[in-house]
């Protein structure tokens, strides 16, 4: 079980959280002008990164707030967590989510 650092509440066990998929996936601003390809990109296509992955979590059994995290999907090690709305933290070196 993962130990996840909620940016609002601190470290809590994974059971208190819900995973909410890839982070920074923006809904198209003008739906009627958005092409089918762009809708597919928004709805279905995912990076599925092997390495540092930017993802959303929700502290559903705690403060109930969404936040973002950078996690290495090859080790499940959390690099950092940050509040929703904040930009993705820059990583040292070549590791790019």
């Amino acid at each position: 079980m993962l130990l996840i650092h909620c940016p609002y509440c601190g470290p809590r066990p994974e059971l208190e959280f819900a995973y909410a998929g890839q982070a920074h996936v923006a809904r198209p601003l003008d739906p009627s002008a958005t092409s089918a390809d762009d809708w597919a990109e928004f709805l279905y296509l995912r990076n599925n990164t092997r390495g540092i992955h930017a993802e959303r979590w929700r502290h559903v059994r705690g403060c109930a707030r969404f936040f973002n995290a950078l996690r290495d999907t090859t080790t499940d090690h959390f690099v950092t967590t940050y509040r929703a709305g904040e930009p993705m933290p820059q990583l040292p070196g070549e590791a790019k989510p």
């Binding site: 597919a40 296509l45 990076n47 599925n48 990164t49 092997r50 999907t73 499940d76």
Partner: protein, 417 residues
Amino acid sequence: MPKFSGWKLLQEAFGGQQGWTPQWRRAAPQAEYDAIVIGGGGHGLAAAYYLAAEHGITRTAILEKGWIGGGNTGRNTTIIRSNYLFDESAALYDHALKLWEGLSQVLNYNVMFSPRGVMMLAHTVHDVQVAKRHIHANRGNGVDNEWLTPEEAKAYCPPLNIDRNIRYPVLGAALQRRGGTARHDAVAWGYARAADALGVDIIENCEVTGLVRDASGAMEAVQTSRGLIRCRRVGVSAAGNTSVVLGLAGVRLPLESFPLQALVSEPVKPAVPCVVMSNSIHAYISQSDKGELVIGAGTDAYTSYTQRGALHVNSHTLAAICELFPAFRRMRMLRNWGGIVDVTPDRSPIIAKTPVKGLYVNCGWGTGGFKATPGSGHLLAWTMAKDDPHPINAPFTIDRFRDGHLIDEAAAAAVAH
């Protein structure tokens, strides 16, 4: 390579067992092939076998980064069934089931296919309605499936607890008698041996590091940890790592990779005569011929490539197993493990051409790919050989997510499967 038979066994018994030879060659990569399959699991090995056996493309190689059958083929719970709701799925999975039925004879290798029946339990009024809808839809598609009362379910599977006073009582079950199990390793080895006999090169410890395209954008070669291999027809059957491999050619897919766990108990005498599944309380159990209870747990919540998951996921399934089978409460679990499964948004697979000419993909089998092994290999081989999908896999495209033609087994079963 000697043909396996009773006569051969007898001959070897009297000859000191000295006549057996390795079942496939340890091939080194050649400079060029007519077809390459990336991924040496059951699906990839089957595709290579059918490319050689049915389409005459014997200059074929399988590139496997580890050892054959070491990924999800060796990590699943070996359940085989075809009782899917939608017409497209029923055709796809029943195609595979029909190939399972004759597979040991075709491959001259005992894959221990055992159609012992797959029983899916219903615990609520909603479950009962869904199960009956599946049964009628299946029968309309020529797929066997029948309704059992709790008493009939207990008669078919005696250790099952049908007490009305448990938290999720058994209200009935759907039984597909043609479903069952097979020996996972034997499937990989059987296909490897049969493909090798037709001239296919099985190249292990060979990781694909690049997909090289020519000026027109078509596939030209595969860069590997063992050198450059020229090939204009490349199929990818890489399960959890499909996004990574196709990313080498810039192709994005509607896939997410999750850990899926399974576990086995200490071996005991025959107790569970069939496969029992419960979607509602998430339990999968059968008994291997060796005597272990084989139990499938769920996926973890998050994407990962670690091939391991969290203990609470297993505990959840074991709680359900203990309630359905109180007799197993004091059994000890011997081993548990995880595999990485590639899940599509509609929980149906993709067997299709990609936007890159000469590059084909078989992926998205999620938590239920083993049952489809012969069928998916057969259809990927067809698609690669003809550069056009077989009618059975024609609906299972990547474009269905753009065009809205989902085959939504996720909604039909309300569970990953």
